[in-house]
């Protein structure tokens, strides 16, 4: 299957979150990521897609292959036009302990990827960009 370099998928309901996971999984498999790296990336995608849906009131995920002759990676961009995140450092600090806590899954996702960028403006929306290298 020929890989396109860039695709965008809507995240408007919980089935879209499942689809997003499966998309990321199939790209990571094609690029021959190790199983652990794949699992981390797909799990991060799941967290961020869910955030986009629950907190951001729906948005989209763009998936792209990045890199050059030295290294290859998958970049995921999650965008929404939701309420935005007023205090980003706090959001990143919110972790999960035994699963009872709230939190946006941002801090956790950050640990699952290599590069992590977040831009958010209250009232305008949020964009989270992550990259996992092979």
């Amino acid at each position: 299957m020929p890989l396109t370099r860039r695709e965008t998928h809507p995240i408007q309901n919980s089935s879209d979150v499942v689809l997003a996971r499966q998309k990321v999984r199939s790209w990571a498999t094609e690029l021959k990521f190790t199983l652990v790296d794949q699992t981390k990336l797909v799990t991060a995608a799941s967290e961020l897609a869910r955030n986009t849906l629950d907190h951001g009131k729906g948005g989209a995920m763009t998936i792209e292959i990045v890199g050059n002759s030295d290294k290859t990676g998958i970049k995921l961009i999650f965008e929404d036009r939701g309420p935005g995140i007023p205090d980003i450092p706090a959001a990143l600090r919110d972790g999960f302990t035994t699963g009872g806590g709230m939190g946006l899954g941002l801090g956790g996702s950050k640990r699952l990827v290599n590069d992590f960028e977040i831009e958010s403006e209250p009232g305008k929306g949020t964009r989270v960009t992550v990259v996992r290298w092979k």
């Binding site: 996971r21 652990v36 699992t39 967290e47 869910r50 302990t97 035994t98 699963g99 899954g105």
Partner: protein, 132 residues
């Protein structure tokens, strides 16, 4: 709507999760399990996740909730068969699921449940003989 089947084995319930669950399916499972535990007076729940390739924080919370809710209903829960890559990822995510008992596979999970139930019965027997 599709549901995850719950099997009954004596006083234990066995759930095998094999599909990539979307959130509503996961919540449905939570509801179904708690209903069945009450309905069938179950004392143990075995959740087999050996086919799950992804466990994110939502599913993790679901497992923790099931364990907590069953305990309130006087049943123990054991989660078995977590894949290595999943365990490594969950730990990185920050979830330890410390309230959830775990075992390597269905066999050891059942063994664990019998052990725990054995303790429970001993306590009941003590109570019974004390009251006699």
């Amino acid at each position: 709507m599709e549901r995850i089947p719950i099997l009954r084995m004596g006083s234990f319930l066995l759930v095998t999760i094999q599909v990539d669950m979307h959130d509503r399916l996961a919540l449905q499972l939570q509801d179904d399990l708690t209903a069945r535990i009450a309905e069938w007076d179950a004392t143990g729940v075995l959740i087999d996740i050996s086919s799950l390739e992804i466990v994110d924080s939502f599913i993790g919370r679901m497992l923790a909730n099931i364990a907590a809710m069953s305990r309130v209903l006087d049943a123990e829960t054991v989660v078995v068969g977590m894949q290595p890559a999943v365990a490594i990822t969950l730990v990185e995510l920050g979830m330890s699921l410390s309230g959830v008992r775990t075992a390597l596979n269905v066999e050891s999970g059942m063994e664990l449940l019998y052990q725990m139930r054995g303790k429970l019965h001993a306590e009941l027997d003590d109570d019974a003989s004390n009251q006699a």
